[in-house]
């Protein structure tokens, strides 16, 4: 129950990202000298 509750909280939080233009950016790995 606790785990299901926590997992649902994760998914709810991530569901809030639906309206964002996520396809506009790529999650490039970062470099120690700055943003790639």
């Amino acid at each position: 129950m606790e785990i299901a509750h926590r997992l649902n909280a994760f998914l709810d939080a991530l569901g809030a990202l639906d309206g964002l233009p996520l396809d506009r950016v790529e999650p490039w790995p970062t470099s120690p000298e700055g943003v790639v």
Binding site: I3, R6, D12, A13, L14, L20, V25, W28, P32, V35
Partner: protein
């Protein structure tokens, strides 16, 4: 020695202690002995330490004293006792990461940051308590419940709990913590210390047990901003054993403290300062800090970053899934040795769909883009570390209430792996003329590294007052006596 008694000596900054040693007015043995006495007297209650290295510290202090007598100085920390979070490897000394799983783990090599402090002449006095594997949410601490030195029924913050406690209660000269999503800044805020999360890549993580590799960063917790700048200067810099470290030159952060704040452009982050969850006392403290900065010549303006409210969820998805991957083997073979809170957190994170994690990584890129755009025209972002003052400790909460407790705002910066931002928890709330508390932090652009802790000079030099909690009778009592230091009950 100009410092009158052992309490004065213990609470003095490391920079001051080092100066006294150079003037031959203080010996390392005297200093180490004073801290060991305080640890013996106070730590039974505070539980800042997991391991105290009393015997070896005294041996090292005698050696330091002998070298000093001959004019041989190893570095700026010669003879100064420090302690590190038990997440950092120390050769030949138990290193548990706050977990029962590692109760017998003795590394054979020092972490890079540990080695650099030793090279600068520092003396390891002990290893500091933390939430299990630096993840937060620990229900039962295997090495004792850490307690806030200002009120031991309240949370000291985490995950670098012992580092915040030891700095604030003067159990050593300086400490190191590690910050993934607020683990340096939260205990600094709750305990009334200075906490600095360096820019990602600025400090080596070699020998640091990972919480989440894409966000982990080692940083100092100290009693003064000058000490934080001193320590950062010593631990920063390229390390061939950590490929994520930057090759950029390490500036003189201490010298930069004298630059002042005139012409500095500061943005007050409205989503966090004026958010519905922000305690009025915290909001007031941040606004007061902003006014103080403006009064000193900085240009201060409100700024809105609409993606910030997403940062907490994005951070949790990325941090927890990275941690779940790291712990998968032990979760399968040794699940019973985890704290129940840690185990639940990791098991739940292991069930997050990969597509959701990937979307969180994209959202992190968007948030980073927005923060960097703001820092293109501003030098600092000012915001609270936590939306509320230190809450009651989990040890004093019923389990159901403890589980519902929410985290702070420190994770806002953590999801930006290279945010060029260095949040600081200056001790502005300890200004003598302010009855308020709160937890202001600031994120500074490090495009010009010499400006890394720019607002710390005016904010960090006040007389200390205890943090207050509106409505909390224990804290109100402490506030009335206007004590300048935590009043810690002997065990």
């Amino acid at each position: 020695m100009s410092i009158g008694n052992t309490d004065e000596l213990a609470f003095a900054s490391a920079s001051r202690q080092a100066a006294l040693m150079r003037e031959k007015r203080l010996s390392s043995v005297e200093l180490v002995t004073a801290y060991l006495e305080r640890i013996e007297r106070l730590d039974g209650r505070l539980r800042a330490f997991i391991t105290v290295c009393g015997e070896s510290a005294l041996v090292d202090a005698k050696r330091a004293e002998s070298e000093a007598a001959k004019g041989q100085w190893r570095g700026p920390l010669h003879g100064i006792p420090f302690a590190v979070k038990d997440q950092l490897d120390t050769a030949g000394i138990l290193t548990t990461s706050g977990s029962a799983l590692l109760r017998s783990h003795v590394p054979t090599e020092d972490s890079t940051v540990m080695a650099r402090l030793i090279q600068a002449g520092g003396i390891l006095i002990g290893k500091l308590n933390l939430t299990e594997f630096a993840l937060g949410g620990t229900l039962r601490f295997p090495y004792g419940q850490p307690r806030n030195p200002w009120n031991d029924e309240h949370d000291p913050g985490g995950s670098s709990s012992g580092s915040g406690i030891a700095a604030a209660a003067a159990l050593c000269s300086i400490t190191l913590g590690e910050d993934t999503g607020g683990s340096v800044r939260s205990p600094a805020s709750y305990c009334g210390a200075v906490g600095l999360r360096p820019t990602w890549g600025r400090v080596s993580r070699h020998g640091c047990f990972p919480a989440a590799w894409s966000m982990d960063q080692v940083g100092p917790l100290t009693r003064t901003v000058e000490d934080a700048a001193l320590v950062l200067g010593l631990i920063a810099g390229y390390d061939e054993r950590d490929p994520t470290t930057s090759r950029s030159a390490v500036p003189d952060y201490r010298a930069a403290l004298n630059a002042g704040v005139k012409q500095l452009r500061i943005g007050v982050l409205t989503e966090l300062v004026d958010g519905a969850d922000t305690h009025p006392e915290v909001r007031g403290a941040v606004r007061e800090a902003a006014r103080a900065l403006a009064g000193l010549g900085a240009h201060v303006e409100d700024i809105s970053l609409p993606l910030i409210p997403h940062a907490g969820g994005v951070f949790m998805a990325l941090c927890d899934s990275e941690a779940a991957g790291r712990h998968q083997s032990w979760l399968t073979t040794r699940p019973g040795e985890y704290d129940a809170g840690t185990r639940r957190r990791l098991v739940a994170a292991g069930l997050i769909p990969a597509t959701a994690v990937h979307r969180a990584a994209r959202a992190r890129a968007l948030i980073r883009e927005q923060i960097l755009a703001a820092l293109g025209r501003l030098d600092l972002l000012l915001a609270p570390t936590s939306p509320h003052p230190a809450p009651p400790s989990r040890a004093t909460l019923r389990p159901s209430r403890a589980r519902k407790r929410r985290g702070g705002d420190s994770s806002v910066v953590a999801p930006t792996p290279r945010p060029r931002a260095s949040p600081v928890c200056p001790r502005s709330r300890f200004r003598a003329d302010s009855p308020r508390s709160g937890c202001p932090s600031d994120s500074s652009s490090s495009a010009d590294p010499s400006r890394n802790p720019p607002c710390s000079a005016p904010l960090g030099r006040g007389r200390r007052q205890p943090p207050s909690l509106t409505g909390d009778p224990h804290f109100r009592r402490r506030r009335r006596d206007r004590s300048a230091r935590p009043i810690v009950r002997d065990r």
